[in-house]
């Protein structure tokens, strides 16, 4: 018996939602960043699931690209967090409110 692709998509949607809630709720910049990674991975899972559904490798190639871009994004984001920490002595996003009205 085959596993329906829809189940993978539902898991992917759940993971994406957990990531979204994490970005909205948490205040620690590092945990917010981890939640963004979770969202990216959920999107990758959906891509690979659709690749399986249509029997085409293109979805997997796209997931591969997304992983590469995510690696670049993580490196830059962590450097920004470290720079912010050096400046403000805190990784709390509420402390970085210089541009708030």
């Amino acid at each position: 018996m085959r596993t329906p692709i829809a189940w993978y998509l539902v898991v992917s949607g759940l993971l994406f939602t957990i990531g979204t809630v994490g970005v909205l709720v948490r205040r620690n910049a590092l945990v917010i960043f981890m939640s963004v990674e979770l969202q990216l991975n959920a999107a990758n899972l959906a891509l690979v699931a659709f690749a399986r559904r249509w029997g085409s490798v293109t979805g997997q190639v796209l997931a591969f690209f997304s992983m590469t871009v995510a690696a670049a994004e993580v490196v830059v984001g962590l450097a920004i967090i470290v720079a912010l920490y050096r400046k403000r002595r805190s990784a709390d996003v509420d402390d970085a409110s210089l541009l708030r009205w």
Partner: protein, 197 residues
């Protein structure tokens, strides 16, 4: 049948690890739970007929990226309590309500678009013609060759940008002695750190 059992073992672990990540006070625990989640996603990739992405997921995500995360957590210190006071009243509940709405939306979209028992239109044969890696390489270096090269530029630009971001401004030479050597005492003032506002 084996894939079905594996799915029902992995899916709850995946969602539970992700959900527990949100509730952890300690950032290190969050990172470790995220590694568990990435591993289950890697197993999903394997079940979906992509052994190449399975390996890449484990090496790049669970390996490199999470080690980078742990490294930064170590640099910033883990003993900091998160401020639980809400800056915007009721923000947390609104966020959870929006999340529930998003789940319902995705569920409806999957149901309308694919159908909850929607099987595979094509067999897995096309995914692994001559091996999954070969099939992937044919597409990657065929249709997507230019984006592939652009990605390499992106990585170089990211590396240079991070070097620039992480650079400390050269410490002004102090009259007394060497500027900010590696063996500087803990109590010495650090010219590279700006005062706490």
């Amino acid at each position: 049948m084996g894939v079905l059992i594996l799915f029902w073992v992995m899916a709850p672990v995946s969602v539970a690890a992700a959900a527990a990540m949100l509730f952890m006070r300690n950032a290190v625990h969050s990172a470790l739970l995220l590694i568990v989640n990435f591993f289950t996603i890697a197993v999903f990739f394997l079940m979906l007929g992509s052994p190449f992405l399975f390996v890449v997921q484990i090496i790049v995500y669970a390996g490199a990226i999470m080690v980078l995360f742990l490294f930064v957590i170590m640099l910033l210190g883990v003993d900091r309590e998160e401020n639980l006071r809400e800056r915007i009243a009721g923000q947390r509940w609104v966020a959870v309500a929006l999340g529930v709405g998003l789940v319902a939306e995705v569920f409806a979209a999957v149901r309308l678009g694919v159908g909850l028992s929607g099987g595979n239109v094509a067999g897995a044969a096309a995914l692994s013609r001559g091996g999954n890696v070969k099939a992937l390489a044919d597409v990657l270096f065929g249709s997507y060759f230019f984006p592939f090269e652009v990605t390499s530029i992106l990585l170089i630009v990211a590396a240079i940008g991070v070097m620039l971001l992480g650079r400390r401004r050269a410490a002004a030479p102090r009259p007394g002695g060497a500027a900010d050597g590696p063996g500087g005492g803990a109590g010495a003032p650090r010219p590279d750190l700006e005062p706490v506002p």
